[in-house]
Subunit: 651 residues, 2 copies
């Protein structure tokens, strides 16, 4: 160990950093600060982000210190407090809802705040409302004179929106819509901010005019009094109870019995019921789902990829500090990060976190373009955007959920303690597989779109950005898809009904859609790496991560590549060997690579993942704060004492 | 629909069973009652189990009705109450700790009770204690005059027991051991029943006599006063705080500072420190770990396989009731169980639940024989039992955890509600992957054992029960293992150090060990099915499940079979086709197959999984009981009201 190294480690001890973690930072092959700037989109963004994080973290009102000890009621109250305080803070700091700061604010808050559905309420009015409706409702909502929610899902109906049962019947006499929950399965169920907070909500209901059903439309409905917050007449509303996470969110239920809203409350940017009951439409019916389509993409960054980045940070730092068993007889116990099996758990997740960071940027650019077209009433890109948002939402949420779980399990028992931060990251990201469209259904929508293109526009498809020509070069999507298509055709020719044939191909179609999205992710990662500057060693380390992500994909789906001899057994041996070799290479940069995500300790809120690696000390300190240690349990006096004193028979 | 069918459905409506679920029970190809009896090991066992369940469920003291709404403190208190009440109940009913009833009692309680580690405390004294020690401590523990725990894991040391840092130094002068926690990483951490309940614990510590270390040994240590329950001098003890589940268990921490225990408190069935400090051993040092080895097998049934059976019951019943989207245009929305993708999620888990039920019986028989040999001081079977317990604990916990998660996700949003029962099943079974030995380490121990056999006793191994000859007939374990062995040999011949070569093979060795255990599970399933009587259609439906389990294994690990041409692409197509066809066949029996597990509604404690399928009604009723609906949130007065009334600036 050279003198500078020794000096650095001594400094670390003085600064309180665990030497086992400090030593990891000396061997970085690249500049952590430069990579952070690259992830932020430039050093000036990094500066702004840090200034905002500093402003928030120095404000005790935003503290999450006791989060792991709080009940559902306490979590809800704290989330409302933070949401209200945030409004004040934003005015003080001069931050605005449309300003560049907002994404950093919400990134730090990690969704642990109320009124997130209020923001979806506003977004749906902005997208689906007429200019007049926007002018009326958006200022009220912005000033929080009303609190909104978004009531789409029903107790018996989720992803399949056409099945919604809530009705909105137009009454010409009064120029009102009459909203009803015809049976229990039609109750709105799950909307956030609705159980205890919202005064208004956008209700999705089947529109009836003159007895004819026009399908699902959105209506603004007031559900609680603005004076005393009591439910409005005909409204039954409450909280759906405990969930696996989101204790801070008042997910609600809503039953409507003959609730009337004026004709003007149907959102009418793209269609309208006129006073005489005439139904007019100016755009695709599908536009009603566009809010959901954009939400699917907008959640990816903060709700899905961020948890994976945090989980990687926690698990990799902990793995550099935790020692267990001996790799070499006679030496001290080894860092668990030095075990190939630990590397194989964590490093592919790290590579995926980077891969998804880049695909997320790509998707946002795609959607920004699409949104502008739609604003100009050009709906051509809707099917493609829908297919993209469906497949990537499903693929990224699934991958990240599995990745966070792997990180949790890779930390052994301590990962299972809430104090590690990992359980709440897991239970939270898991929800993303379910909300905003069930993942299997979403994959099948992507597959349906691809099959349609394959069958009806084969040549066009081949020249598109994600055409078969490219696909066949790398991933097995093309085979999976075309073999599904062949099976489909064969079944239909053998006399199966179309829908039954489709059902019999769905397991394979889901695989094809997954491969499709995986392939595009690799492709975008490769293109991103090619464009990187190699100053400061960044391109090289990103190239390694990109290779690892691609090789892991092949290693984990070997059957698809070996099936038709696309790869031989010998080639697969090479893939495996390269993959395993790469683990050892990336392991050297593992801690710097998570440092580059630049999470503060308060943002991670993890006893295992802090920058200083003082894991055991922190676990012990935090445990002592637990309410289970601050209360003499009534169980002693009531049960244990009589038992121990052998008065069992008198109990 | 024939008249009897119509009649049955009408009866169901009258009895309150959802017709969509009732209809599933009409098409069973086998006798549910007979299968239940087979699973119980005979109809007389079924009768006994039901009588016990009835006795427990009719006693409100055991109710788990409010479980999902309780805080950690409330859960702990309830668990202690139940444990104390159980003692009373057992006396009343004439049930004894060694009687046939005990397994049904604990099966019903599903671990939601205190003093489970007290039972491990007793078991370790029974196994590791001398006759004198057994005679002294077991009656005290049986009568609950003391409450025990089992303190092995430390903050910095888990699976690698040799690394434990707690010390026990023999003091000849006083004939005592002096126990110490030399640093923070040596604190005992995680022992159940220790944080707030236990008066005594078995502490595993490095034994030192005359300055020489003899390795880890178990010592009985009193940690709390029997009078007032205060920590004994030199003892720091408390609760480790919130976890992902096990809120009812007071997992604890323990620091010892110069705590003295008499020489007689070292458990000495197999070794002893004599008064003059002479260390004597009568058996293998490994016997100290035997408690853990047996615990690994004993948890499988109730803590691992049972949660998967419950999750399958909940998810499959719900999938027969939940309707979404249309399979056939013009028809009503389809049961989600009719979708191939849903079948592919749930039915392999159902097959696995049966497979593991049978392997569990096999393992218990194996261990009962081994235990008897050890009682007779024959330790020959220890390495094999260790390898078996390691590999199967890892394989079954991993599979069941993943299976429960699949069931949870397959229920969409409602699966994510605690009221479904699925989140707590998941967070609980997940812990089993971590406790009693980290799974990767365990797989590697199995692999090490297999490699040793392969290298040193090739011929002997080939003739053993799980020999290579059998293996090569079915699963790819043989190739995975021998290619790992070849790589290992190659690396060593190329000059790599042995330990480094081993590390570089571990990813592949873990795969080999998994395949090994999977193969044996298939083998035992096949043998069990062959022995079944085919009266009442049971053999046939079990044969289908066995085939599904085997085919799913190949389908999911296609690469291992295609790699060296063991299966061709065309054969893999056949595997896939058979696998998918079988899904549709088993789907017809899916509900009867979970009914056969015979869980009561109270035992499932799930709004989605009840026998009557009244899912939506129950979700709504249960949600209304949530504390979030019973309290007017302070958040309204404090934050919402001022905000809504536009007094933002005054906040």
């Amino acid at each position: 160990m050279g003198v500078p190294l020794l000096k650095h480690l001594q400094d670390s001890v003085l600064s309180g950093v665990n030497p086992d973690l400090a030593s990891e930072r000396l061997t970085a092959s690249f500049s952590v600060e430069k990579l952070t700037a690259r992830l932020d989109g430039g050093a000036e963004h990094t500066r702004m982000r840090r200034a905002i994080v500093e402003a928030i973290e120095s404000d005790p009102a935003f503290s999450r210190e006791n989060q792991y000890f709080q009940s559902q009621n306490e979590r809800y109250e704290a989330a409302v407090r933070r949401a209200v305080h945030l409004q004040k803070k934003m005015r003080e700091m001069g931050w605005t809802e449309n300003g560049p700061e907002i994404k950093y604010i919400y990134r730090w808050l990690s969704g642990d705040i109320a009124f997130l559905l209020h923001r979806v309420f506003m977004r749906s009015i902005s997208v689906l409302g007429s200019d007049k409706q926007v002018a009326k409702w958006i200022p009220l909502a912005t000033e929080h004179q009303i609190i909104g929610s978004y009531a789409q899902t029903e107790l018996g109906h989720g992803t399949y929106l056409q099945g919604l049962e809530t009705t909105a019947v137009f009454d010409i006499a009064t120029q009102e819509f009459l909203l009803n929950t015809p049976k229990i399965s039609a109750m709105k169920w799950w909307p956030g901010d609705m159980g205890r907070s919202a005064t208004h909500t956008v209700v999705f209901a089947q529109l009836y005019v003159h007895g004819k059903c026009y399908g699902v439309h959105p209506f603004i409905v007031q559900i609680r009094s603005l004076q005393d917050h009591s439910p409005r007449p005909g409204v039954t509303v409450g909280d759906i109870g405990p969930k696996m996470n989101f204790e801070h969110t008042d997910n609600g239920y809503l039953m409507l019995q003959n609730v009337r809203v004026p004709r003007e409350n149907m959102l009418s940017r793209f269609c309208e019921v006129q006073p005489d009951g005439t139904y007019v439409r100016w755009g695709s019916q599908k536009i009603n789902y566009f809010t959901m389509t954009t939400v699917r993409i907008s959640i990816l960054s903060d709700e899905v990829i961020l948890p994976l980045m945090k989980a990687c940070t926690i698990a990799i730092r902990y793995s550099a500090v935790r020692r267990q068993s001996k790799l070499k007889p006679g030496e001290q116990e080894a860092k668990i990060l030095d075990y190939q099996t630990q590397q194989q758990k964590l490093l592919p997740q790290l590579a995926a976190a980077y891969a998804f960071h880049f695909i997320n940027i790509y998707l946002h650019e795609l959607f920004d373009r699409g949104y502008q077209e739609i604003q100009g009433r050009n709906f051509d890109s809707l099917p493609e955007l829908h297919a993209f948002s469906s497949g990537f939402k499903a693929m990224v949420t699934q991958y990240c959920t599995s990745g966070v779980e792997i990180c949790l399990r890779a930390c052994g028992g301590h990962g299972y303690s809430l104090l590690s931060g990992l359980p709440s990251l897991y239970t939270r990201v898991l929800a993303s597989c379910i909300y905003e469209g069930e993942n299997t259904v979403l994959f099948l929508q992507t597959a349906r779109n691809a099959i349609l293109l394959l069958i009806t526009h084969k040549s066009e498809y081949e020249t598109s950005a994600c055409g078969l020509e490219y696909l066949s070069k790398f991933f097995q999507f093309s085979r999976l898809l075309s073999s599904s298509a062949a099976k489909l055709q064969h079944l239909i020719q053998s006399g199966a009904e179309k829908h039954e044939a489709w059902n019999q191909c769905t397991v394979q179609l889901v695989k094809a859609a997954q491969a499709h999205c995986h392939y595009i992710t690799v492709k975008i990662f490769v293109e991103t790496v090619e464009k990187l500057d190699n100053k400061a060693g960044i391109q090289k380390v990103m190239k390694h991560l990109c290779d690892l992500f691609a090789l892991h994909g092949i290693f984990s789906n070997a059957g698809d590549f070996l099936y038709d001899g696309y790869l031989s057994g010998a080639q697969m041996d090479l893939v495996t060997a390269s993959y395993l070799d790469l683990l050892a290479v990336i392991r050297m940069d593992a801690v710097p690579l998570v440092d580059a995500f630049d999470f503060t300790d308060k943002s991670l809120n993890s006893a295992l993942g802090s920058y200083d690696g003082q894991v055991y000390q922190r676990l012990y300190e935090w445990a002592q704060k637990s309410p289970t240690n601050q209360q003499v349990s009534p169980a002693y006096g009531k049960y244990l004492k009589p038992l121990l004193q052998n008065r069992l028979s008198k109990l």
